[in-house]
């Protein structure tokens, strides 16, 4: 994988976590293609071949619905995330799509000031790099290392 590809993937990841950490949730679906898959699961479910997700979206429209629900319907205490990501490990794919695996840590900061290590894991991504709207995620599987979530998972990872 060449330097230009690596740079594009890193740039996409950096802008993705920045949108979430800056509470620009309305921008979040725009990091995905129309027919994307976004699934938050656990390493344990994956290891057992179980398909369940905590969040299971099969289109960008579903991501927009989730944002609207978080903004208008769901009740949860004000909170922010701070994502830290490692450099992605990238493998070439077909048709201008690459695979990238990126480790992350997410710290959750509550409105009370309470700051905790919230989740760790890896992004298993398929990213389209070429085309008018590229780069975007075709598929993002968020694999959480732990199967336990403290209280609730409101903001996407």
């Amino acid at each position: 994988v060449d330097v230009a590809t690596t740079f594009k993937v890193q740039e996409l990841q950096a802008r993705y976590i920045q949108a979430l950490d800056d509470d620009r949730l309305e921008d979040w679906p725009n990091f995905f293609t129309d027919t994307c898959r976004y699934i938050v699961t656990t390493a344990d479910n994956l290891a057992q071949g179980m398909p369940l997700g905590m969040i299971y979206a099969t289109s960008r429209a579903m991501l927009r619905d989730r944002v609207r629900s978080l903004r208008d319907a769901n009740v949860y205490e004000a909170q922010r995330y701070r994502h830290m990501i490692a450099p992605p490990v990238i493998a070439p794919g077909e048709g201008g799509v690459v695979r990238a695996q990126t480790s992350f840590m997410v710290v959750r900061i509550m409105h009370t000031g309470e700051t905790m290590m919230f989740v760790t894991g890896r992004y298993d991504d398929r990213i389209v790099l070429e085309g008018p709207d590229a780069p975007r995620f075709v598929e993002k599987t968020v694999v959480l290392d732990s199967r336990v979530i403290d209280t609730l998972l409101a903001i996407p990872i």
Partner: protein, 410 residues
């Protein structure tokens, strides 16, 4: 019955009042472990389908007590305390696995899959030295065994040999509600946990509280999944400890919410991708929601085609793990499995409906920690614990406290 937690007395008004010390009294937490979890109650351990083959085990819990559930070589289910007879170490340190016998990692004491001690390493010493005295009884304090009963693939256990048979404990209406949901052999789709920053009873009250559903969960209400105007009702077992809350999938209309100006009713709120709500009536009875609970800590949930069992592990006075296992059936086709996965967006820690249930018990815990001697008023729907055709009631919460008091001797 002897009094537990000296100095604590239930209010004279009965179960229409709940004293806030029940959520913050350390001694009470310990008493509950003995009287509720190790008492004559039936505790959900796991799904039968989680032990699909002979010679397998998985770990579970009764309250705070770690438990091992096994399927032995003959296919029989057993359960026993996860504690070695020797020094008390955990016997199984993994969540699940295959095993013909259980060997304690610490000193290699061995057990069969029924929890009987079968071998003590170096029992006779080595080379005539060491070992145990000939009259020693290494199995003097064996892991406690549970009585196990299975109903429609749900595995329950009790530590009290005098507990009533499972079906009698549940009551006929609850048995019927379980049989309804568990219509075929189970296929597990996955699991996860939520750590609740609250006492276990606050979560169980939340489950039994049909009054809050349309008020706290605005996603539910907005999409007419659970308006209180929908036909539905509440079934409470004779003991008070077990309940079913249900509603029909079809909306009967009504403008009560709008007229009340409640935030739940947001006109014109629609989904771009409504497939998370598309369900098929797999039971053929029009019931779109059935929440069933069994005292102390079991929940069986049907939210449309999203099916789950939930159980609690009481890690501490204010720390409770909510373990979810989401399932379908072995006869599901691909479309049904996909439907269940889509509708799982409604439940769990990130669930459109249930995410608030992870937080609400914690809100109460934080509110009442400094209000031990103040009482909560629980009078929605009157003062009784009878089944009803409305869900604007706290009758099953009163049922919970009725049964709780009988177990605790309050």
């Amino acid at each position: 019955v002897t009094m537990v937690s000296p100095g604590r007395q239930w209010p004279a008004e009965g179960v229409t009042r709940v004293p806030y010390w029940v959520y913050s009294d350390r001694d009470l937490f310990d008493d509950e472990q003995e009287r509720v979890f190790r008492g004559p109650t039936w505790n959900f351990l796991c799904l039968d389908a989680e032990l699909p083959k002979p010679n397998t085990y998985r770990t579970s819990a009764i309250g705070a007590m770690p438990v091992v559930v096994t399927r032995d070589n003959d296919g029989k289910l057993n359960a026993f305390e996860n504690r070695c007879a020797h020094r008390g170490s955990l016997l199984c340190i993994n969540e699940r696995g295959e095993a013909r016998d259980i060997v304690c990692v610490y000193h290699n004491w061995s057990y069969d899959l029924a929890g009987n001690l079968t071998a003590v390493a170096f029992r006779k010493g080595m080379g005539g030295k060491g070992g145990m005295p000939a009259d020693a009884r290494p199995d003097e304090n064996p892991p406690r065994k549970l009585k196990v009963e299975t109903l429609c693939g749900l595995v329950f256990g009790t530590l009290d040999p005098n507990a009533p048979p499972l079906e009698a404990y549940l009551g006929p209406e609850i048995v019927k509600g379980i049989r309804r949901v568990m219509r075929a052999p189970v296929r597990v789709l996955g699991s996860y946990s939520q750590m609740l920053q609250s006492n276990w009873k606050l979560y169980m009250e939340n489950v039994k509280d049909s009054y809050h559903a349309s008020l706290l969960h605005t996603f539910f209400t907005t999409f007419r999944l659970n308006r209180l105007t929908q036909k539905g009702g509440l079934v409470i077992s004779e003991s008070g400890g077990n309940h079913i809350s249900y509603s029909l999938a079809a909306d009967t209309g009504g403008k009560e919410y709008e007229q009340a100006g409640m935030r739940a009713a947001q006109e014109g709120f629609g989904l771009e991708a409504p497939q998370v709500l598309n369900h098929v009536d797999e039971y053929g009875d029009g019931v779109g929601l059935q929440i069933l609970s069994v005292f102390p800590t079991f929940v069986l949930q049907q939210t449309r085609n999203s099916l789950a069992v939930r159980r609690l592990v009481t890690h501490g006075l204010e720390k409770t793990e909510l373990v979810w296992t989401i399932f379908g059936f072995t006869d599901d086709d691909e479309a049904m499995t996909e439907r269940r996965l889509q509708q799982a967006n409604l439940i769990g820690p990130a669930g459109y409906i249930s995410m608030e249930d992870g937080a609400a018990p914690g809100f109460v815990q934080r509110g009442v920690n400094t209000a031990a001697d103040i009482l909560s008023v629980v009078e929605m729907g009157g003062r009784g614990i009878k089944s009803d055709d409305t869900r604007v009631t706290e009758a099953s919460v009163r049922g919970f406290w009725t049964f709780y008091r009988s177990q605790m001797g309050f």
